[in-house]
């Protein structure tokens, strides 16, 4: 089933969905497996699995370090595919690949997309691939029924949002603020205006990410967004309290 439809079905039962983020191979694929088990068990609706890259330009210190450590311990793209195949087989929720374009370019666009489709991945988040640069990627993703998630930023004009919407599929990822991943966002009046502009520009479900860390943050999004994205926070949690802390943390967000 296509990603958008899956999310819409879930939205019939919940007022806001949760998407989480993990870096594959950090701290290890074994720990990733346990984290995902806890996430799914506690009601996460969608998971983005980041294939580590040596130059993660859109990521802040926490995810940057996770990328570097995952590579230092020898995580290969092939390991990520095998692990992702296992996760998609094991758990019911949609999984996305998040990575930077070079990983895909080097693997071969069609080979990458085809294999992702075969193992049951639903889509891709590629922060350095705007649609202008991703024409062939978008066409191939369409061919294999997968979604390339496009991104809105607070600096996007209304016209740009509408243009992105014409190419978009699955859902729109709204970046909550200027900057990289990891820092706290202020969900203030400006933010509300921005979200209203996002809502006006597209019919697709809206996910909001960058700096979401607590139940209060998620409550602030209820009724305004369809999905909240939690990234750096769980990575920090695993570092300080171990993988077992992820389940209770997720359970406490609703």
């Amino acid at each position: 089933m296509k990603l958008e439809q899956q999310l819409r079905n879930k939205l019939k039962e919940k007022d806001i969905l949760l998407m989480t983020h993990i870096v594959l191979g950090y701290p290890s694929l074994d720990v990733n497996r346990e984290i995902i088990r806890q996430m799914v068990g506690n009601g996460v609706d969608c998971i983005e699995m980041q294939i580590p890259f040596s130059e993660p330009m859109a990521d802040g210190p926490v995810i940057l370090k996770a990328n570097q450590d995952a590579l230092a311990t020898g995580t290969k793209v092939e390991d990520c595919f095998q692990f992702a195949a296992e996760m998609a087989r094991t758990h019911e929720i949609p999984f996305l690949f998040m990575t930077y374009y070079n990983i895909i370019f080097k693997y071969g666009e069609e080979a990458f997309i085809k294999r992702a489709a075969e193992i049951g991945i639903h889509g891709f988040i590629i922060p350095d691939l705007p649609p202008e640069m991703g024409k062939t990627f978008l066409a191939l993703a369409d061919k294999y029924n997968l979604a390339l998630i496009l991104i809105y930023a607070p600096t996007s004009t209304d016209a740009r949002m509408e243009e992105l919407d014409r190419h978009a599929n699955g859902f729109i990822y709204c970046v909550a603020r200027r900057g990289v991943t990891g820092k706290k966002s202020a969900f203030d009046h400006d933010f509300d205006n921005y979200l209203a502009r996002c809502r006006a520009a597209t019919q697709l479900p809206l996910a909001v990410g960058f700096g979401i860390q607590s139940k209060e943050d998620i409550d602030a999004l209820r009724g305004k967004a369809d999905m909240a994205v939690i990234g750096s926070r769980t990575i920090q949690l695993v570092e300080t309290e171990g993988a077992e802390a992820v389940g209770p943390f997720i359970a406490g967000l609703r």
Binding site: F53, E55, P56, L71, K76, P127, D128, I151, V180
Partner: protein, 410 residues
């Protein structure tokens, strides 16, 4: 360049969405400036009054006699204010920043020359300035860090990855996506997302325009070959651009051979089997990367050439064979530097010494009636610690020890 910023198969703008609008504005302003002769005139005036333009073309009589081949001319970008060609690009972007009304500039730097030029421009134009520099390069290029700070810039040592230029670029992008509204990223070389490669090459083209005029004046005909070192590729594009359409002039780019092409410790992107096409830091070019697309560690004695990617414009000229690419090892570079100092009393930067090494290897085979131009992208003063160390100079070592002792006792 096409409308998406590609030079043949290379280039583009692979940027996060948050920068889209900023790039639109930058492209618009750059286009406006390029079409406005008054802008170039303003630029020339600034460069001739604040920097040292036109820089001389020096006939290297002793080197010419030593090799017994073509006549050797040296384009003296080392005589620019701040000691390198970097000033050309930075002052040009400075004029652009003024037009765009931004209050703050950031930059990455490897050898420190670009950071130094940016800090200078910021001081002159009254802008806030932050410079990102790999921790490894901060150690290698201490004199430049000192000057940048003295001119009011904040120098941020980057501790991620290889702690060199590519990591400084990532960190500068992180700053930029956070502060897009009031900040301009003064990109230091003909790399990065469009329009940077084209824009930087345009500002640097002043080098070749002057050199062509000067060589005709002194040698009465065009040169046979033009040599330049290639880190990102801005000084090379700067001197090559004017000669690209001139038939019969061979253009030679010299990359950093480090410990040798076979050693794995080098920065050879265009004349090396270790490199392959990739997309990183916002553009498509030849990168030193592994089979998964992870960037490799690079090495060069010259911090300014120690970079994993290369200008997409040069990748295009490599593919269409308009420019020939060679490399020189650290050892060859030190020999070329030694010879140039002794015979001409000129101290090229370690980066520039790559161009000298490449030229010295070949110049003897050319006719005495011909001329070559070597682009001396910068001066070697900043490299005094590295050079003295490489020459194992005993009196310098003693001086450092004595100074160290003085400081630790005080």
């Amino acid at each position: 360049m096409d409308s998406n910023g590609f030079f043949g198969n290379w280039g583009g703008a692979y940027i996060p969405e948050v920068l889209h609008q900023t790039f639109q504005e930058l492209k618009k302003e750059y286009d406006r400036c390029r079409k406005d002769p008054a802008f170039w005139q303003e630029y020339l005036t600034l460069m001739s009054t604040y920097s040292c333009r036109p820089t001389p073309l020096t006939y290297a009589e002793n080197l010419t006699r030593h090799f017994g081949g073509a006549q050797i001319y040296i384009k003296r970008e080392d005589l620019n204010h701040t000691g390198a060609h970097k000033a050309n690009n930075v002052m040009g972007q400075g004029l652009l920043v003024k037009r765009m009304g931004k209050k703050r500039v950031i930059a990455e730097t490897g050898a420190g020359q670009h950071g130094m030029a940016t800090a200078t421009m910021a001081a002159k134009f009254g802008l806030d300035c932050t410079i990102y520099m790999g921790e490894e390069d901060v150690m290698r290029q201490r004199p430049n860090v000192f000057w940048m700070e003295k001119m009011g810039a904040t120098v941020v040592p980057v501790t991620d990855g290889s702690r060199t230029l590519k990591d400084a670029i990532n960190e500068a992008f992180r700053d930029w996506v956070t502060n897009v509204d009031d900040t301009h990223y003064v990109f230091g070389t003909a790399c990065g997302p469009a329009p940077f490669p084209e824009m930087v090459a345009w500002f640097q083209s002043i080098i070749g325009i002057e050199a062509a005029e000067q060589i005709i004046q002194y040698h009465h005909k065009m040169p046979k070959r033009v040599y330049a070192c290639v880190g990102g590729g801005s000084n090379a594009m700067g001197i090559f651009k004017r000669f690209l359409d001139e038939d019969g002039i061979e253009l030679v780019g010299v990359e950093a051979g480090g410990h040798g092409a076979e050693s794995g410790a080098h920065a050879i992107r265009l004349s090396s089997p270790d490199a392959s096409p990739g997309v990183a830091q916002g553009y498509k070019t030849m990168f030193l990367q592994d089979d998964d697309g992870q960037m490799k560690l690079t090495h060069s004695v010259a911090a300014g050439l120690d970079y994993v990617g290369v200008s997409p414009i040069l990748s295009d000229h490599w593919e269409n064979k308009r420019v020939r690419f060679e490399s020189a090892t650290d050892t060859e570079v030190m020999q070329a530097l030694d010879l140039t100092m002794r015979l001409e009393g000129i101290i090229p930067a370690l980066e520039s010494s790559h161009a000298f090494a490449g030229a010295f290897r070949e110049v003897g085979q050319l006719s005495k009636d011909d001329a070559i131009i070597i682009n001396q992208s910068g001066r070697g003063d900043k490299d005094i610690f590295t050079i003295a160390h490489a020459f194992e100079d005993p009196s310098w070592k003693k001086f450092i020890i004595d100074r160290g002792r003085e400081y630790s006792n005080s």
